[in-house]
Symmetry: C2
Subunit: 394 residues, 2 copies
């Protein structure tokens, strides 16, 4: 799912003038003109992480990646949007040069973080550029990045937080009991330039940082057939998909499994008024193009159709029944961490205006384990209204 | 389907000042103040039907029904939007008074027309208030309204044009080989006030005008259970649904079958970029609430889910394959009428900016029978783009 930041609101935002003294150097670090930078300024959100003032660009803007951060005189570049194709055999040659070789790596289903070292401290940033206090703390027990940042202080470690005990996007992965980090990119913190794929993988290997699987390196001409095979295997294991990368790391393309699309659809229709209709429609399109590209016969296409129908209708039915029974819909997550980390997580989520209900809360092996539910007011209220006989004008 | 007018564009629109001399009386005929009328004026479309200038309100506006027409000093009131419920057992008591009795009539699947007599001529208006030259001509052979309008010159005959040979919404009905008219309402042309249901049915009966079936007249308390039974029978016959009416004709409520919803979904996904995502989403919701209200078990719900999935995916697959094969997507219709009526139909459709391809054209029993295809440029072009490897930024 691509939504950890979708529920962000701006309750923490402060609009007071920025105390930053390095204003004049930001535009050159970002590689844009002074007037372009001034044009961006109204789009920065002002925030504060434990006394450290920073600004970030929470939405897509011209001239700078979403999630770009200005902090303590330094720039943390946003992670670029990864383009997608609906059709492998034509999309790959459209996106990559004719003679290019492509690395095929797994796209893991979790949430995207970037870790940078600033003022001697490693901070984890969400896709939209907020410091995530939970990830920042938890990371220390998941991966030791001290040597890496000592050798490469300008590094921006980009990766996915995966696993079932996850406050944003929970998904089961073999061998991941709670939550884990998997690096998938290494970029310059300021310019955003990536390392070449093989150099990146070697470096992470050397520093003992767990990485996303690399499936293969293929020629453009052979990529579609070979990616299709990989996608079939990932689909059977209920995994999300792949990212294709030019070996220099600059060109990206993603493609996902039907299992992932159906899981997104089921999730969206379990909260039908909290997800956009465009979110749903785009996923239905993916299924349409995949069944055609894979040249499925009527029987296979019908089987795929039935899965899509169940993802939509069965989850919507369950949501309506939940509200009918007087229960509350929401996004349910379990997290496991130290008391302090759990506390800052809830402070962070509530600071974003989210309504959090704690459903279960206990200690195990020195950690606190909490199951909580982010309320989704639209789906609860709108389903309740329709059940109560709300009349629709359409 | 509720879309005959959705494809209207305004190529016929003229913006020159209105030559009408009855400007000062329109606002009082409409029952609104002069300044409210002036506020509406920018929203009128100016059109011309065979030399007769008229204006109409093509979209929903405050203070006046969509489709209201100002013509030759007279007002033809728009047909009111019919509200819908997603849940019968709560929606019916919400919409109707506690002790009210409700007429349950069939909602037929065709296109809505209003016929009024103006300057001695019967004109048929579409939902959005355009004179439809095709319907205006064809109606003469379908139903004789001369005595009706002689006795009731202020009448607005409201009904559905149904059947397979239909330029807007083709649907099979037993006993309708080509196209037929079914009256479902009788309103005052100027005020829009309806006749009571029983009086309306008796009058149409007396004038020999075919009508929509009346299933029953029920108490509010018994309506939900009894409508559910009717809907099950209509669903099995692939019919659209019902309109519930208070006996005075003033309060309306619609409810439709799963067969109709699936047929709409299949149609929408056969032209996925020409139908709005809201159109699709609303129909998915109907299925969700129907399966819950009908208390279907898992097996029945799964069966319903499979049908929904097939409506979506199988029709989208066919559309993508059509474009892949180099063929053109579009809305295909067959019409049967005199040469002159066919000519004015195509002039009318092309005048709206529609791209019409004639696919079959012959004479039979003195009529011209034409199969044509309204091109749907968005679906053709967008599917082509994706097939060609268009990269999606999402």
């Amino acid at each position: 799912m691509e939504h950890p930041d979708d529920t962000e609101t701006n309750n923490e935002t402060e609009t007071k003038p920025d105390a930053d003294t390095d204003e004049t150097t930001y535009h050159s670090q970002l590689g844009i003109g002074k007037s372009a930078f001034e044009g961006l300024e109204p789009h920065f959100e002002h925030r504060n992480y434990e006394g450290l003032e920073y600004r970030h660009v929470p939405d897509y803007r011209r001239g700078v990646e979403r999630g770009t951060v200005l902090i303590d005189g330094k720039v943390v570049r946003g992670f670029p949007k990864v383009p997608r194709t609906l059709v492998l055999k034509t999309g790959i040659p459209t996106q990559f040069d004719r003679n290019e070789r492509i690395a095929v790596e797994e796209k893991l289903n979790g949430y995207n973080v970037r870790i940078a070292q600033l003022g001697g401290e490693q901070l984890a940033f969400t896709r939209s550029g907020m410091v995530c206090p939970f990830t920042t703390r938890l990371l220390r027990r998941l991966v030791d990045l001290a040597d890496l940042f000592e050798a490469h202080p300008q590094a921006m470690v980009c990766g996915e937080m995966i696993g079932p005990e996850n406050p944003y996007t929970a998904h089961e992965y073999p061998g991941v009991d709670s939550i884990a980090f998997r690096a998938f990119d290494w970029r310059d913190r300021e310019s955003g330039d990536p390392l070449p794929v093989q150099e990146r993988r070697e470096r992470y290997e050397a520093f003992g940082v767990p990485q996303t699987p690399l499936f293969e390196i293929v020629d453009v001409d052979n990529a579609a057939a070979s990616v299709q095979e990989i996608i079939r295997e990932l689909d059977a294991e209920n995994r999300e998909g792949v990212i294709l990368k030019s070996l220099d790391g600059n060109t990206l393309l993603k493609y996902t499994t039907s299992a992932s699309t159906n899981s997104d659809l089921a999730y969206a229709f379990s909260l039908p008024f909290d997800y956009g209709q465009a979110f749903m429609f785009r996923r239905l399109l993916r299924e349409g193009f995949q069944t055609v590209e894979w040249d499925e016969d009527d029987e296979d296409a019908r089987e795929r159709a039935h899965e899509v129908g169940e993802s939509i209708l069965c989850s919507m039915r369950e949501a309506i029944q939940t509200v009918e029974d007087g229960d509350t819909l929401g996004e349910r997550h379990t997290v496991r961490a130290s008391d302090e980390t759990i506390d800052v997580l809830f402070e962070h989520l509530r600071g974003q205006g989210l309504n959090i209900d704690i459903e279960d809360d206990y200690h195990e092996d020195g950690d606190r384990v909490v199951t909580f539910c982010k309320r989704t007011p639209s789906s609860n209220d709108t389903i309740r209204n329709y059940l109560d006989g709300h009349i629709v004008s359409e």
